[in-house]
Amino acid sequence: MNRRTLLGGLLATASVPALAACGGGITSLDGGGAGGGGGSSKGGVTIGTANFTENQVLGYLYAAALEAEGVKTSVRPNLGTREILIPALKGGDIDLLPEYQGALLHYLDPKAEATEEGEMQNALAMALPRGLQILPYGRAEDSDAFVVTRDTAKEYGLKSLADLAKHDGELVIGAAPEVKKRTVGAVGLKDVYGVEFKEFKSLDSSGPLVKGALRKGDVDVANLFTTDTDIAAERWVVLTDPKNLIPGQHVVPLIADRKADSTVRKALARLGALLTTRQLTELNRLVDKDKKDPKDVADDWAARHGLTRK
């Protein structure tokens, strides 16, 4: 745990997440509340996105929704992982980030127990460091899934994450490198289900490496996103999660207080209420399979749903 404090020390603007839980972290009290506070989107909002397709689609959707309300935006695609993005948000390199409830909560507080959406929203508000806030979560959800091929499922008798524990030290898991250290990942699988893998292979976030490795049999278990259309297309088996290791993962905007004014809140709330999981999945497919630009796909969707400049 030494490393964590070291990293905190290295970040000039970092504040320790745990301190925020002592109070003052609740969204509505934290400045930038509806209609007031210190936040202003006048100077424009820089949206950062993580290194996988869907997050870029969401980033451009946020941009479209904000532009529709007259807020200037710029999108910085493909910046890296949550571990890189949140310090960048605190440091001011970016202002807004499409996040996922459960994954964000476990990043901020690895011991968090909330699983229901409302609970998670409160827990998030408590766990967030000073200067950052979450806005209301949207309808769309993209969760983590641990999948195996049908052959592997048959061979090892795998239906749920609990079944993995029966094969201690036999199976290889493939996931993005950061998943090795995450609760919703190797750490949680061990703590909650007692699963010990033979090896953790560092690959990517539901991308070509992890899916390629699963197809080739280089890994037995793969961490993918539930909005990945390849899961159904390849008839991969999603392992069930009887002990609720994987929390709900509704899309939720994470924003710096300095930019969270009422215009931004309203625009993102409207988007959140419109965008469904099915639609988001389809937008991902258009980008990944049809090679459309995430920006075009997002702008089209926004135009079709009335999110345009009046």
Binding site: P77, D93, D204, G207, P208
Partner: protein, 215 residues
């Protein structure tokens, strides 16, 4: 594997922006590298004990993987262009410092002595005699550093920058060869054009080397 030409045509604006951003990062690094290496090279040239130290240090820096340098700079300069430029600058030093020292060494001692005998001050000798005579070797270094930087910019795509390098990660994530091929070709073209321009600059800056050749 084939190139989707309609994609290329549709993205002409974006490609131009990325190319310019790419060039800006590389050129900033070379300029910054020059500003740092010139005084250090003079120091290494004059003070013998420092020479091995400085050249050795720049050589060791060269062996560090560039991705690691970019990541290690994150606590200092974050996800910004500054991180990219500082990282690239480190790699220009090995060439710029080495060549500038070599260029200064190549100035004949007699030439310097003659200048001093005429009462020219040391700083003036450096600026008006030594550096101009060292220019061909320095410029050779600038050319190498520029081409190298242009190639290296793309590594910064791992920290969300990287100019044309963004086309590589994008194409990788989406199993889409077109942006990757276009990115590689544009990088090579950029390097070629920059190098040709530098040759021209050198030709203009060092007229005496031409006269010698034609004489």
């Amino acid at each position: 594997m084939s190139v989707d030409w309609s994609w290329t045509a549709d993205h002409a604006d974006e490609l131009a922006t990325l190319t310019l951003s790419h060039l800006q990062a590389a050129l900033s690094a070379v300029l910054l590298g020059l500003v740092i290496s010139l005084p250090l090279a003079v120091l290494a040239h004059r003070v013998r004990p420092l020479r091995g130290l400085l050249l050795g240090l720049s050589n060791v820096l060269f062996t560090i993987p560039s991705i690691a340098v970019f990541v290690l700079l994150l606590p200092v300069s974050g996800l910004t262009r500054t991180t990219t430029v500082i990282g690239l600058t480190i790699y220009t030093l090995v060439v710029l410092l080495g060549n500038t020292v070599e260029g200064l060494d190549s100035v004949p001692a007699r030439t310097k002595e003659a200048a001093e005998a005429m009462g020219t001050r040391p700083l003036r000798t450096l600026l008006t005699v030594e550096l101009p005579l060292a220019l061909p070797v320095i410029m050779a270094g600038v050319r190498i550093a520029t081409v190298m930087s242009i190639s290296l910019v793309s590594v910064a795509t791992y920290i969300g920058d990287g100019g044309l390098g963004q086309l590589f990660t994008d194409g990788f994530q989406r199993d889409f060869p077109t942006p990757v091929i276009v990115g590689v070709v544009l990088t090579l073209l950029l390097a070629l054009v920059a190098d040709a321009l530098l040759v021209t600059v050198q030709y203009v800056l060092t007229p005496w080397t031409r006269r010698q050749r034609s004489a």
